[in-house]
Subunit: 219 residues, 2 copies
DNA sequence: GCTGAGTCTGTACGCTGTACAGAGATCGAG
DNA sequence: CTCGATCTCTGTACAGCGTACAGACTCAGC
């Protein structure tokens, strides 16, 4: 057995506290100090469990991913497309539940054990769908790109990073920094704006997923 | 004319300085203070031009996007698929040139004027490819998801956010925080790892793009 | 019982974004 | 030409951040 006093915390507890803060008070509220406060230790005690903050955040993301059961992947009573849909929706729901978490996803990509298991299963599933080993690998990556990209863009839209200033000078604030650009090149009510705004929904998510899958395993 | 002294800077200059820092010293080096130092003013002088740091970063991203000429979009001597490839590669190249910039992309999505113009053109192009108005909109969004997702994941991989610690205890450091998880669930040499590592390339980017396009405009 | 490793606390450093007050420059109006 | 309004920029300051360092305490094994 190791010497020294018993640990008063666990990685689990720390990640849990971070997750709680993330959900309750947004991504900016997740600091070493607030996490430590949440579990009742001095801020630097966390460095006993994780090498730095980035590691904590990676563990948070991994836990979020790991909350999804992997059983669906191999449930052969469903057609594989159905299973992929299911898994994709699950991942999306879990991550969008904590909008602040998502911006972490892409800064430190999925290299936690649970994320790896996830990727592994996805690979198997695509092989089962009839793809060659190489195609399955490429398709798996493409799919992950679509999933994470979608989720990230959606999360960015609904993140509480927009504390809604007094609306009076919101447009002015928004234009600040683009003053050198003629006003007419601001397509304020243009179609592209509507696209971004209106199609952010489960509906659009599934529509895109379906098309991507069509492209990946067609013929 | 407005009263007050002449401005000694411009939004352009500030964004330029930020971009320079981004390229030369990485994303973490872009602070209000360093930008101000670069252009030779006090840190808070920047607040005359931008409401806050996020606005500066949004302008940076918009500038990066805007560096791409929009002419390719409407050059009807090329087939539309070729044009999309061209434009996608251009965007990717421009953003990966400044790896630090990419993590900003998803935190504050593209709402700058140049980004909007970009989206607008993409929409037209897809309509030209024969899609209905609604399908073009959805496809446009899906395509943007793929582009930004790809680029973000690639940038995360090659970002200088990995200062490479002394390699002796790199694995130990890496495992820290996952100690509760049995070692055998660490698929260290698993296929999914290779997927993530090996297929990050222009090749994979184009492969995926082609499949996504196949899915979007098949029939 | 001693040794030495391991866990936690207190303190401190250098950095961040940005709010606030005021100095100086420049304009339009009288 | 003067005056007051208005704008830009500086100095200073604050609260918060991640984390390095030194030391107090607790325990397993000799």
């Amino acid at each position: 057995m190791k010497p020294g006093p018993k640990r008063s915390l666990s990685e689990e507890a720390i990640v849990g506290a971070a997750l709680k803060l993330l959900g309750e008070r947004g991504g900016d509220a997740v600091s070493m100090r607030s996490i430590a406060g949440e579990v009742g230790v001095a801020p630097n005690a966390i460095y006993t469990y994780f090498p730095d903050k980035a590691a904590v955040l990676r563990a948070v993301v991994d836990r979020l991913i790991g909350e999804q059961s992997l059983d669906v992947f191999s449930d052969r009573t469903m057609p594989w497309r159905h299973r992929i849909r299911e898994v994709a929706l699950g991942l999306r729901a879990r991550l969008l539940d904590h909008p602040g978490a998502t911006r972490l996803l892409l800064g430190a990509p999925m290299d936690g054990p649970r994320a790896l298991a996830y990727g592994e299963k996805l690979l198997d599933l695509l092989a089962e769908a009839g793809l060659s080993e190489e195609d399955a690998a490429r398709a798996s990556y493409t799919l992950i790109v679509y999933l994470l990209g979608s989720i990230a863009l959606e999360a960015a839209e609904l993140d509480p990073a927009a504390p809604t200033p007094p609306e009076d000078d919101r447009i002015a604030q928004r234009r600040k920094g683009f003053e050198a650009i003629p006003a007419e090149s601001f397509p304020r009510t243009a179609a592209s704006v509507d696209v971004m705004a209106a199609y952010i929904s489960t509906d659009q998510f599934l529509w895109g997923l379906e098309r991507v899958l069509d492209g990946l395993v067609r013929d």
